[in-house]
Symmetry: C2
Subunit: 396 residues, 2 copies
């Protein structure tokens, strides 16, 4: 299928005098105006990105266009923007959305605090949307905050897992391979365009399997699982540092290290500010006294002050130990019930708080079993990030 | 890449005189020996299936070959076998596995009670494996329980979501299109073979997007989510039928109907035997007295007698109501603790038992809120089927 000529859509435009660069399935092709120019180092180049995001998502089998489908309650396109934003040398990101989704898109940018984003109206085809994005970058409007780029990366809004190294390769390739911008008028796939005009140099850049495009509903499921797995890699165990090393909290930490998948990193929360900077999204908070939430409150306050939970749900498991002999079980449970209210409160800020009461029997073998079960429950809560179970008090 | 000639692997064989039929990506091609024969109705034909399952799963990035990767703790290939077994007109299913996986495969067949399966040793390539499967079907060995088929469906072991209608189309197409069996000697993709020999009629049979092949780790995630979703479509609410219609259990059932995704079917467990036959894998069991497990025990016994949990984990949520005024909370919690032991017991048989205690305040608004939260927790437990949280007593 061919898109219509862009000149149909308005007064004849010379088209943006930009080097353009497209990513297709696990591949990208790159162009530049001249080889001499291309020899300049790519980071001397001003780089921008254009995201066509005007699709209707018919193949997905859901009414919402796929770029706006939620993953952990955040729209897919926000993950893609986040992936591009992370790359400091991409100066501007232009997103082309349909008029009807313009306000929703503004809301997404505001809510998830995306930076360096500009919006343009999508065209009726993917190529017209790309053209509109390039035009916005090319225009020298006095009020525009956009700076004219030398290389533009065209990236699908529904490929959230793009990595900096692939983008780097694409921009590097742009120094050597070329295609004039009028090619935007025809075709649906960028590489197809490059091959059609045989005098044009095109280069395939190898992508990783993670670069895949979210197309079907199953891809949304896969994306959600991948994201959950990524944010569960690091688990931080927080406890009062004055606590003696023999304390059962340290034993729980050891048990977590042994029980969990070896891929996961269990860190002690001694330097919590540093850990927040490392973007750890899973916390186990050991409270010394049975019915005490002191450590948990301190942690929740720090989390609320940081902006950590804007992008991903943060799991906090408030751990308490039960010495059955000194306090009756029922009493302990009642004392810990306030966790339900705390959980309701912090859930508003995307923090998922759960309680975990671990039996502390005198018998060494039984204690070991309790700690092992505690570690299993912790792993399950962190892995699933189930918002329907927040405020629950689980028992190991 | 071409596979070696099959004749290299042993004494010259005429090759099986079978009509063969291959499924490639969302497509299949079909062959028959003659048009006259093909005009016979396809269910007058004896149909068998061959599953090449000798792959090493290198693209998956995991040490286990992908066909043996677990989904909800059951190997992927078992789901594929289940999909083929369901089709009553497939008389025999021949699986080609490597020698080293032969015993594991026998264990899978036994554990998941697969029927009509025969095993052959895989060859070094996919095509040699297919050849070995066809040979086993073609041979007239006195001790063989295999009957010689007229049409053979070749199906990837890693496409678990194949539906009967696609298989039907494939077999129907086999009546009209043909290819001689020596084509098995070359090529890696069946359709490629058909196109290579232009005098051969080949037909593309449209598959659904669900027919996709599990290739990468993300596909395993997607498959797990799809399977979880499928087995969570129907939720059966069981309660004592003598119970009056105004009982809070009925209100919970109504709340579930309202709160849950409209895709889900909430059925009352009046005819439990029928519901077990319908393969419902999610049960909410309402116990009349607070600390009573009577209904739950009855249901668990029925589930254990049926073989329902052999293929999928069955979720049972034992619901209890708490009238805070008549029995103290702590006491109720203690009374319900035996659920931990019950859960441990039934988990051995793949039944995931959770407890749910719902507050029953006098205030109508508060009761509604409790029931709504109960429905949310039920939905979360059924959706996730988290085996790490069995035996927990959740509170709404």
């Amino acid at each position: 299928m061919q898109s219509g000529r862009l000149s149909d859509s308005g007064p004849a435009e010379p088209g943006p005098r930009l080097r353009s660069l497209c990513g297709a399935d696990q591949a990208a092709w790159a162009s530049s105006l001249s080889e001499a120019e291309a020899e300049a180092g790519c980071f001397a180049l001003a780089v921008a990105a254009v995201l066509p995001a005007g699709g209707s998502g018919e193949r997905m089998g859901v009414p919402t266009p796929k770029q706006f489908c939620p993953i952990l309650e955040r729209p897919l396109i926000s993950y893609t923007l986040q992936a591009l934003e992370r790359v400091c040398w991409i100066k501007d990101i232009v997103v082309a959305v349909t008029g009807e989704n313009m306000e929703a898109m503004k809301g997404i940018i505001q809510r998830y605090q995306h930076k360096r984003i500009s919006l343009v109206e999508a065209g009726v085809t993917r190529h017209r949307s790309i053209f509109n994005g390039l035009k916005a970058l090319a225009e020298d409007q006095p009020n525009s905050r956009l700076s004219k780029p030398e290389v533009v990366i065209i990236h699908d809004a529904v490929r959230p897992f793009v990595e900096e190294d692939v983008l780097f390769q694409v921009v590097t390739a742009a120094k050597e391979y070329g295609c004039s911008d009028h090619d935007l008028e025809f075709g649906t796939e960028c590489l197809h365009l490059a091959l059609k005009y045989c005098h044009i140099k095109a280069k395939l850049v190898e992508g990783s399997p993670d670069l895949w495009k979210v197309t079907y509903k199953r891809d949304l499921y896969a994306a959600e699982s991948i994201i959950k797995e990524r944010i569960s890699q690091q688990i931080c165990v927080v406890m009062d540092t004055k606590e003696d090393e023999e304390h059962v909290g340290h034993r729980l930490e050891e048990m977590l290290k042994n029980e969990l998948n070896h891929m996961k990193k269990v860190t002690s929360g001694k330097d919590l500010q540093q850990i927040l900077l490392e973007q750890c999204y899973s916390f186990v908070c050991v409270n010394v006294m049975t019915s005490d939430f002191e450590e948990t409150h301190k942690l929740l306050n720090m989390l609320e002050e940081s902006n950590l939970s804007i992008l991903y749900p943060v799991v906090v498991i408030s751990v308490h130990f039960l010495d059955y002999k000194s306090v009756p079980f029922g009493q302990t449970m009642e004392n810990l019930m306030p966790i339900r209210e705390f959980a309701k409160e912090v859930k508003k800020r995307n923090i998922l708080l759960y309680g975990l009461l671990i039996y502390y029997p005198q018998d060494e073998q039984k204690l070991k079993e309790s700690l092992r079960q505690g570690a299993t429950i912790i792993a399950a809560l962190i892995k699933e990030r189930n918002s329907g179970l927040t405020g629950q008090l689980l028992i190991a």
